[in-house]
């Protein structure tokens, strides 16, 4: 993305920015803005009304759409209609009288959680008459949409089936927000397009896009001589749609997300003939506010004037006294005591007071805030009416309306304090904490989905607010509430908001279905076809070694803890299963690490073992070379197997799992792969067949799986067959045994 730089050059107006004009140009369009709840921003207030600079985010969206010839803008929101209407009225959008420009309508779509639901609601209302701009979420932008709209309409005129144009960013964020990795990952996608026509042929999105490679059907090349695989594109969540899109959503009730469901759906039903196109934004800004990190970076970008002409000192209001000077914005009505330090990229809003000695570093102070003496604010965003008392430290946090941070308190990185919360004197709010006066019913099924602003148990909220008000004023609440003291301090007000698992929700619409599994690929050609995937999977293990390592450590630790705390097998299984599900592992994965941990328990503790578990390990060194040493080691292994075989069996569900275990044991003995460092697996190498035999005796391994394992290795190289060869006697004995049982069975049949 080529970024144009208008920082501190307030007089230049980019050529594509329409000067608001009274006349309606041809090609005017309708627009739909979906203002759904953003789980990533909870428990902050309505995302649309979050201030970005002086104005709320929705103001940016509306101005942008208006400048792009959208004459009728429908805001669809599941809740908070009153607040939204109130703002629109205040800002003069309501009624469309103010500018002679866009008419803004608010539509309440109660209970709508997804793009699909909201758009089906819009379809029912029957307000969309032609092609329209769909903005999903609060997008702050200034990119010129007019050429995109024209191109879309031209395509539509030529081909009625070209029903949608997806606006995409050509590259990663290059603006000031680029530093925040979270925001950059957002909207990352893999798109396969026709480089000539920009037709979209495949779209995958989500957090781990491309981490398994991508499989491309060559039929895509039947009608064009080249396709482009782009991983650098990002979704902007702006779509130019034909009305057919609404019909499609109505026909397919299971479509929830545009990029996650509708796009793959249309692409997979090519026979229906609908086509999608992308439009790459070469320049200009268009970023959505959907997570905390995204919000912070958008605010930062607004202050850095990426969104020009919509910047804090250009609200269009003559009464506005906000001035931009040397990188900082200070409202004319704000009072700054002498001796305050305000760095570039800061904003001090209407009527705020900053006491002497306060230091603001890239921080935004909303209106009517009060910053105490010696307070230090870094990369933080304060909404209106916030009070930060003397000598507080706030870094990289977002503080909602009327929040009070009492003297000497600390608010650490990534904290979010929702409106009216109070942090007690000298208390420190731990990093990443989200605090709200509303008690989040954590753990309840679908609690996130039922979250609705303002529709909470209002009595409870009122009580909390009353209590918080009293605490904020320094008094004692009449009806004391059981606030989370470890979060906000003894005299603070607020509940810890259970982490909404922002990452998980961000990647929700993962297109798992469309990633074809390796077995789908029927081609036999060597590289880049089938083989490639296998090789790469091996490589991925290598690259994600840290992930595997962590899982291994966690299993080992859980296991050791279970031994130490004498947790029953059943409960240990539950804990380990929890780990398995959390990390999306297999039973075999658990079994292999339990097994290796168990083996390590037969030797003195290695230096990496945590002190608390050292007592579980035997003390005396063994001499694995001597016969006595080996016997002792075998004895120990047998004892361990005896006590844990029941647990192991729970994780060795199938023969495949058992083969997997044997392969792991090999790896462990050879000190390869996951066990390449810090483990003394080599000690067991000599005893490999004996240990396998013990496992067999203890019913941990079945004879079938041992034989399967040997068979699997039949054609392996000599090196790989090392352990199989060692087991030759055992295998022969097992095979004999198998034949015996077979013949016995036959015999019994005969009888």
């Amino acid at each position: 993305m080529t970024c144009w730089c208008y920082i501190q050059s307030g007089s230049i107006i980019p050529p594509w920015v329409a000067v608001p004009a009274g006349n309606l140009l041809a090609g005017a369009m309708q627009a739909v803005v979906l203002l759904l709840n953003e789980p990533g921003l909870q428990p902050l207030a309505l995302p649309a009304l979050l201030p970005a600079g002086q104005a709320p985010a929705v103001e940016f969206t509306l101005r942008w759409l208006e400048s792009s010839n959208c004459t009728e803008i429908h805001l669809v929101t599941p809740s908070g209609t009153d607040q939204l209407n109130a703002y629109l009225k205040r800002a003069g959008w309501a009624g469309g009288a103010r500018r002679g420009g866009a008419a803004v309508h608010v539509m309440t779509a109660p209970g709508c959680q997804t793009e699909g639901e909201a758009l089906r609601f819009v379809e029912q209302k029957d307000v969309i008459k032609g092609d329209f701009v769909l903005v999903s979420g609060c997008v702050v932008g200034n990119a010129d949409l007019k050429p995109v709209l024209q191109a879309h309409l031209a395509r539509r005129a030529a081909d009625r089936q070209a029903i949608m144009t997806l606006l995409m960013h050509g590259g990663p964020r290059t603006c000031s927000g680029a530093a925040t990795g979270g925001a950059q990952q957002q909207g990352r996608c893999l798109a396969v397009i026709d480089p000539r026509s920009q037709q979209l042929m495949k779209l995958e999105q989500g957090g781990r896009v491309g981490s398994h490679g991508v499989s491309l059907g060559t039929h895509m090349l039947s009608e064009r001589n080249s396709i482009a695989v782009r991983t650098g594109l990002r979704l902007s969540h702006v779509y130019i749609c034909a009305p057919d899109v609404l019909m499609l959503l109505s026909d397919n009730f299971d479509y929830q997300s545009m990029a996650g469901d509708l796009v793959p759906g249309v692409l997979s039903e090519q026979e229906l003939g609908s086509t999608l196109f992308i439009s790459e934004l070469a320049r200009g800004y268009a970023e959505r506010i959907s997570t905390l990190a995204g919000y912070s970076s958008v605010v930062e970008d607004v202050l850095s004037r990426w969104t020009y002409p919509w910047v804090p000192d250009n609200s269009g209001d003559q009464q506005d006294l906000c001035r931009f000077n040397r990188g900082t914005y200070v409202d004319g009505t704000a009072i700054m005591a002498s001796g305050t330090v305000v760095s570039k990229g800061s904003l001090i809003g209407h009527g705020s007071i900053v006491e002497s000695g306060a230091c603001l570093e890239r921080s935004i102070i909303g209106s009517d805030c009060h910053i105490g003496r010696g307070a230090f604010l870094q990369a933080s965003c304060l909404h209106s009416g916030v009070r930060v008392d003397d000598n507080c430290r706030v870094s990289s946090a977002v503080l909602g309306e009327q929040v009070v941070v009492r003297a000497h308190a600390r608010v650490e990185t990534g904290v979010l304090l929702a409106k009216h919360t109070v942090v007690d004197t000298a208390h420190s709010v731990p990093a990443g904490m989200r605090v709200s006066l509303i008690q989040h019913k954590a753990g309840g099924p679908g609690s996130d989905d039922e979250m609705e602003w303002g529709d909470e148990d209002s009595a409870q909220v009122a009580a909390a607010e009353a209590a918080a008000g009293a605490l904020a004023a320094g008094g004692i609440p009449e009806a004391p509430l059981d606030f989370d003291q470890h979060v906000v301090g003894a005299f603070g007000a607020g509940f810890a908001w259970s982490e909404p698992a922002a990452t998980a929700l961000d990647v929700l619409p993962l297109v798992l279905g469309s990633q074809s599994s390796p077995s789908d690929c029927d081609s036999e050609v060597e590289d880049f076809t089938k083989d490639a995937q296998v090789v790469e999977e091996m490589g991925d293990e290598e690259e994600h070694a840290t992930g595997a390592d962590q899982f291994k450590r966690e299993v080992a630790e859980t296991f050791l803890r279970c031994i130490k705390e004498r947790i029953s097998h059943d409960n240990a299984v539950i804990e380990l299963n929890g780990l398995k599900i959390a990390e999306d592992r297999t039973f075999a994965d658990c079994a292999r690490y339990i097994f290796t941990t168990m083996l390590s328990l037969c030797l003195p503790a290695s230096p990496t073992v945590k002190a608390e578990y050292r007592a579980l390990f035997p003390e005396g060194q063994l001499d694995p070379k001597s016969k006595e040493g080996r016997l002792e080691l075998l004895r120990r292994i047998n004892a361990q197997l005896k006590s844990w075989k029941a647990l192991m069996q729970r994780f060795l569900k199938s023969s495949d799992d058992q083969v997997e275990l044997l392969l792991t044991f090999e790896e462990y003995c050879a000190e390869e792969g996951d066990f390449a460092s810090g483990e003394s697996g080599a000690v067991f190498a000599e005893l490999f067949p004996q240990v396998v035999k013990l496992c067999y005796d203890q019913d941990v391994l079945s004879e079938d799986s041992i034989l399967d394992w040997a068979r699997e290795k039949e054609h392996a190289s000599d090196e790989d067959r090392h352990f199989v060869d060692m087991c030759a006697d055992l295998l022969a004995w097992l095979e004999d045994a198998e034949e015996e049982t077979d013949s016995e069975e036959e015999g019994s049949d005969e009888e």
Binding site: S215, G217, L221, S226, T231, F528
Partner: protein, 469 residues
């Protein structure tokens, strides 16, 4: 101009060339079959000579081919190259043939090319591209004559195409040679991370003209004994492992190779590179604009040095670049090189300005005989009255009987036809004889084949006469 480092070339002349049967049935090696009445081999040799390559190893399969090529080099070759013929066993896979001469390669980089390439692209520019990019491999990609889309039904996977993935700096990010249908292409995750924008094209075709970094290739071949074929195995392997060479040759070797490539190839480190870029720019004036001039890709971060840069050198748009490796290809090359557009660039000969054709001075042309444009007739041939030759190559010493029509065909030396024969889209090997009124369409005739009078043959491959005894 800057002195280029010395480069050796390995020319895989192959043997009989089974795909050209029956043209080679009498034992003429593929590379000595005539293209525009001169041995095919003279084209790749000229390409090498013009690029500044000094030493050429011509690898022939079997004694017969080796002897024939040696004989031609001794008696017929007029170029200035130092050419040595190396004989390898018959039927040896191409990569094994290359292995056989590997020890003789002493230059930092070397050219590997097939003996059937007829191209006017500049191997010199390809070499410079290779140096500037510090590439491990640079492959010449030509453009398909018939686009795959024209031969493929909508929604079906195309057949017999090269899938070439190109990314910034003409770097090869995918290479699949698919004689059969491939339904899915897999792009590994590391490629997706490394290359944000990969364009996969089907309109390019591997011309089998490569520049390799010698040490890298030696290491790859040593570590991967299973590689036997060029475009099916070696090239995909190099492209596939370019981001993780250690998986192909081991970590230490990969690091050592990276060091060797960046220091050795330019001859003088950064300074040498700068000079080369300059001369590349000089050369790229001749119509090579976009494809080779952006040398910026050479500036790789130090961490990426261990990677192999697999580079594509795209034949400039409109340039002549074909292979005579199939019957169709052989006939096409013959017909295409003598067109007035291509001849000056590929043959380095101007056609007769009036008739736009090539008719040797010693040709006897009968009354009302007609030789159309884009036609070549070799010396000592005789065209009797009312003979008509269109878009064809006629060898030397041919005799075409009265009223014979030859269209879109290749007649090698000493072909004789009776009167009123008709030859369409055929290749007639040396010494073929056609009886009166024979009509051939889409046929390929082995050397010395005799067609009886009045025969009508269509789409036939006619083998050599079975010798009794």
């Amino acid at each position: 101009m800057l002195q280029s480092p010395p480069v050796t070339a390995v020319l895989l002349a192959g043997g009989g060339g089974s795909r050209l049967y029956p043209l080679n049935a009498s034992g003429t090696p593929k590379v000595l079959l005539p293209v525009a009445n001169r041995p095919l081999l003279s084209f790749p040799l000229r390409m090498l000579e013009e690029s500044g390559v000094a030493d050429v190893l011509v690898v022939c399969e079997g004694d017969m081919a080796a002897q024939a090529v040696r004989a031609w080099l001794a008696n017929g070759y007029t170029g200035g190259l130092k050419v040595e013929v190396v004989r390898v066993a018959e039927g040896l896979p191409p990569v094994d043939a290359l292995r056989a001469v590997l020890d003789r390669l002493a230059t930092d980089n070397f050219v590997l090319l097939s003996g059937d390439v007829v191209a006017e692209t500049s191997l010199r520019v390809q070499l410079l591209t290779h140096y500037v990019r510090e590439a491990a491999m640079t492959a010449l990609l030509g453009r398909r004559k018939v686009l795959a889309t024209q031969e493929t039904k909508a929604g079906r996977a195309p057949k017999n195409v090269d899938y070439v993935g190109l990314t910034e700096g003409d770097r090869l990010a995918l290479y699949v040679h698919s004689p059969d249908t491939v339904k899915h292409l897999l792009l590994p995750p590391s490629f997706l991370r490394r290359f944000p924008d990969i364009e996969i094209r089907t309109d390019l075709v591997d011309m089998q003209v490569y520049v390799f970094h010698t040490a890298t290739l030696k290491a790859v071949l040593a570590a991967n004994e299973k590689i036997k074929r060029l475009e099916e195995q070696l090239v995909p392997h190099m492209v596939r492992y370019q981001l993780k060479p250690r998986r192909s040759v081991g970590a230490e070797e990969a690091a050592a190779l990276a060091a060797a490539r960046s220091s050795g190839s330019g001859g003088g480190g950064g300074e040498g590179l700068a000079g080369l870029e300059g001369s590349l720019a000089d050369l790229s004036l001749s119509g090579m604009s976009g494809s080779s001039s952006n040398a910026a890709g050479a500036a790789a971060a130090p961490g990426q040095r261990a990677e192999w840069y697999c580079c594509a050198y795209l034949a400039p748009e409109g340039s002549f670049c074909q292979r005579a490796n199939t019957l169709q290809g052989f006939a096409d090359v013959n017909r295409d090189v003598i067109t007035p557009q291509n001849a000056p660039r590929v043959l380095r000969e101007e056609p007769n300005p009036r008739f736009e054709n090539f008719v040797a001075g010693s040709v006897a042309v009968g009354t009302r005989a007609n030789v159309a444009p884009a036609t070549m007739v070799g010396p000592e041939s005789a065209l009797e009255e009312r003979v008509s030759v269109k878009r064809s190559v006629v060898g030397s010493g041919c005799q075409l009987g009265a009223g014979t029509k030859v269209v879109n065909s290749v007649l090698m030396d000493d072909v004789r036809t009776g009167p009123n024969c008709a030859i369409h889209n055929c290749v007639l090997s040396a010494g073929c004889v056609l009886g009166e009124g024979a009509r051939l369409r889409d046929c390929q005739l082995a050397p010395g084949y005799a067609v009886p009078a009045g025969a009508e043959l269509t789409e036939e491959v006619l083998p050599p006469p079975v010798l009794r005894e």
